[in-house]
């Protein structure tokens, strides 16, 4: 099976017994491709993972720490084939990740995202309110994670309206016009969790009927936890203020655009067919059982232009179950970021090898 066909399968339809054999084939192909074309990946694979040639289960796949996308230029294509470079927003002073896309990987990512989103939203594009400013899209060749997220989601909307103007103030004119036209109708809201809270919830100041709206949001809970707002509070407050009933958080990263993990019926994050997670012990990297916390390894069958098919994140999570809900696949929750000190040993080991 090739990835183009595999993506076409409804995204939450495969249980482990069907998913694993397909993923092993796709991942073996990606592993060979990146060993062949990316020096840093080959070195990690040789030094840390004993130069494994072929895996027989997805947990044998080598992984690279997410920090390597900051320290190395990880690329499996010639410079001339680079179509877009994505960068992580990062915190001030930190080096951003740089992700190199060619047209094939970019289009696989956009197709994968569309399979997940049309599963949630249907195939009709919905009036879309973006909880951000259009100014984040200024440079067309280098997108921040935020810009890439907005652009990727725009496909599912029409009458795109930005809540904020270039000065990051509420664009009252645009908001009133949008509300006048679409209040109470089925519509799509998209934004980063903190932006939704800070601007839409706290500042928008006009009566919006969002009872039929679907809010898709992402970006992590760090800032929200500082405000003592967790997912339950977030949902219930938005429901009280706007009648909003359909709110879905998702977990994704610029290093694996397209492979997003969206909230399922139980409020946990769910793996689609073409992605997977493995929870690893932070000390010896062994696989943790369901219910045990550890570092989240994200696996995706999509990345071809850069070795991002298997990444050890700096996020701590727990796998909550697999294949026992209406959606098939693993589901998990995120507990937060790993402590810097715990990660240092890990990233040093990898950095020395590459």
């Amino acid at each position: 099976m090739v990835i183009e066909d595999y993506i076409q399968i409804p995204p939450y339809s495969l249980a482990r017994a069907e998913k694993e054999p397909s993923m092993v084939v796709l991942l073996n192909e990606l592993h060979a491709l990146h060993v062949d074309r990316c020096d840093a990946y080959r070195k990690v694979s040789e030094v840390i993972f004993g130069g494994i040639k072929k895996i027989s289960s997805s947990d044998q796949l080598p992984f690279i720490p997410v920090s390597m996308f900051k320290t190395h230029e990880l690329k499996s294509i010639a410079d001339g084939s680079v179509y877009k470079v994505l960068t992580s927003s990062g915190t001030t002073g930190s080096i951003p990740s740089r992700i190199f896309l060619d047209q094939q990987t970019a289009s696989l990512q956009s197709l994968a995202l569309s399979k997940i989103m049309t599963h949630m939203l249907g195939n009709s594009r919905l009036p879309m309110l973006i909880i951000d400013s259009q100014s984040v899209l200024k440079d067309r060749n280098t997108f921040s994670a935020r810009g890439a997220g907005i652009l990727g989601m725009s496909i599912f909307g029409k009458n795109h309206t930005y809540l904020l103007d270039d000065a990051f103030e509420i664009d009252m004119g645009a908001l009133e016009k949008f509300a006048e036209q679409f209040n109470g109708q089925k519509m799509l809201l998209f934004g980063f969790t903190f932006m939704v809270w800070k601007y839409l919830f706290e500042q928008s100041g006009i009566a919006l009927d969002l009872s039929k709206a679907i809010l898709i949001h992402s970006g992590g809970w760090k800032k929200m936890n500082e405000l003592a707002v967790d997912n339950d509070v977030f949902k219930s407050e938005l429901n009280k203020k706007f009648g909003l009933q359909h709110v879905y958080n998702f977990y994704g990263m610029v290093e694996q655009v397209g492979s997003v993990y969206i909230e399922n019926e139980k409020g946990f994050l769910h793996c689609p067919n073409f992605s997977d997670i493995i929870i690893r012990n932070p000390v010896d990297f062994s696989v943790q059982k369901n219910g045990e916390e550890g570092l989240i390894q994200v696996i995706s069958a999509l990345p071809r232009s850069y070795p991002g098919h298997s990444i050890l994140t700096e996020d701590i999570g727990v796998c909550m179950g697999e294949d026992d809900l209406s959606w098939k696949g693993k589901y998990f929750r995120i507990l937060g970021r790993a402590k810097k000190a715990d990660l240092r040993g890990c990233s040093d080991t990898f950095a020395q090898s590459a």
Binding site: Q103, N123, S124, R140, L151, I155, H160
Partner: protein, 79 residues
């Protein structure tokens, strides 16, 4: 104006591209003017010009001018 002329004018306008460059063979992302941002502008202009509402799958599928014609035919626009 025939539908083909309307299509060319819409592409040319949405992508800020000379009409002579809008041929069936022109493909998405082959030129800087037709990138993922202008693609959404194009979709919305096509919707206005032909009074149709284009589904998500077709937004992704619209990979060339020829393909755009094929997709619009599904929405009862004839070429």
């Amino acid at each position: 104006m025939t539908n083909t002329e309307k299509l060319i004018a819409t592409f040319s306008d949405a992508l800020t591209l000379d009409a002579s460059k809008v041929t069936d063979a022109l493909t998405y992302q082959s030129i800087p003017e037709w990138d993922s941002i202008s693609h959404m502008v194009l979709i919305s202009r096509l919707e206005e010009a032909f009074d149709v509402s284009i589904d998500t799958d077709d937004v992704i599928d619209m990979s060339s001018v020829a393909k755009a014609k094929e997709i619009l035919k599904k929405y009862n626009v004839s070429f």
